[in-house]
Symmetry: C2
Subunit: 214 residues, 2 copies
DNA sequence: TGCAAATGTGAGGATTACTCATGTTTGTAA
DNA sequence: TTACAAACATGAGTAATCCTCACATTTGCA
């Protein structure tokens, strides 16, 4: 009924480095246990609801030890995220390494998407961390409903334009096109204006190609 | 140096309704002031860093009055978000209302994207609320860097396949295609499995069409 | 005018991130 | 082996914040 917890009231945005790097075998193992505990708790409850005391308890260490290696709560989440990106980048690089022609790209990319999809499905931690408006399920649902409503307007147009097309396919396309637009926007406003404009223009081209395709 | 604040440790995900709807003129005006104050503070510091005491102070009401109309912190953010989606949906519906043919769609959609883009640029509150991994700037930057790295692998392949193409355009395309993929994944895992699979398949088709275009 | 319902208040309860003084273990050099 | 500094471990305590609640005031209306 209350709610404190969280992440950081300072507007810093920096990730403090581990207060101390574990140099002995013993502490390295303990840090692993802390990360594993955090991973489980994030999967169960989300990173926001994860409590530091619980992480410590589950890892079998004291709260003080936790803070010996992680300067704050965000640092734990960050460490898990960084580990994940490192792994996934290696996987992607490998998949695209030997692509030589268009057909090769088609195959490699298709496999890559499948792998990535399975990875997303299997990693609750990443689901939590990367999910937009992550901390708040209600907001996420509002966002999804909003997207569906907006895609709905597009779908109505498409149905008028192509009454014989498969309605489900139309819906999927419109929904995806719209979602991608929101992704492009979010991205565009977080890079510099010039790149943002380019991205939006590229999105327009891409979206229209798909919307008007056959 | 500390950090409490936040949003909600309960795994509920429900948005409690206003504890009480403002029925008198006086209270309706005060609720408006509360929302306006919250809007400013979110724009300045982000929704996570926004403190309820500060909202109350800025609105010129007591903390108790705030909780009279908003059951918790998230409810304020939610109210602002809902207001925004209502407005933007009306705007989108209007833009697409009279589309009659493909050329009309092309024009209306193009204008719509521009409007939406400007809206995103102008609304810091929505930027904060909709931005993925919103609460944590460091995570958002890690995510962006990860995306750039992954797009980099794609770019390398595209350069090999089409050495004469404009490098900047290639980069933009690859970056966008990759970002859209991540958006599709995030979306796919938050809907049911069947729809998720459809979305991923549609994304593959779309991405390949764009990557292999020309 | 009287009264119930709506509204307003802010000190204080409860929870939680994080600190720090203190104790323990480890590696290492004499 | 022993001494000792550095690394590691601990958990009660501090500070910050969300939210409650008992009580005061204002409003609409019969």
């Amino acid at each position: 009924m209350e709610g404190r917890s969280a992440v950081s009231p300072q507007p810093d945005g920096q990730v403090a480095s581990p207060r101390r790097a574990p140099s002995q075998q013993r502490s390295r193992e303990r840090v692993e246990r802390m990360l594993a505990a955090a991973s489980v708790l994030i999967a169960e409850q989300g990173s926001d609801a994860m409590r530091m005391g619980e992480v410590a308890e589950r890892a079998g260490v004291s709260i003080g030890s936790l803070y010996q290696f992680f300067p704050d709560k965000r640092a734990i989440v960050w460490a898990l995220a960084e580990r994940h990106t490192t792994e996934s980048q290696a996987c992607i690089a490998a998949a695209l390494k030997d692509v030589g022609d268009a057909e090769g790209l088609r195959q490699a990319f298709s496999e890559l998407v499948d792998i990535y999809y399975r990875l997303f499905l299997a990693e609750p931690v990443m689901r939590d961390i990367w999910s937009g408006t992550q901390a708040d399920k209600a907001l996420r649902e509002l966002e999804l409903a909003d997207s569906r409503a907006n895609a709905g307007f597009l779908i109505a147009v498409l149905r008028r334009l192509r009454p014989d097309a498969d309605p489900v396919a139309l819906e999927t396309t419109a929904f995806l096109v719209w979602q991608m637009g929101e992704a492009a926007m979010r991205l565009a406003i977080s890079v510099d204006r010039e790149e943002g404009d380019r991205l939006v223009a590229a999105y327009k081209r891409m979206a229209l190609r798909e919307l008007l395709a056959e």
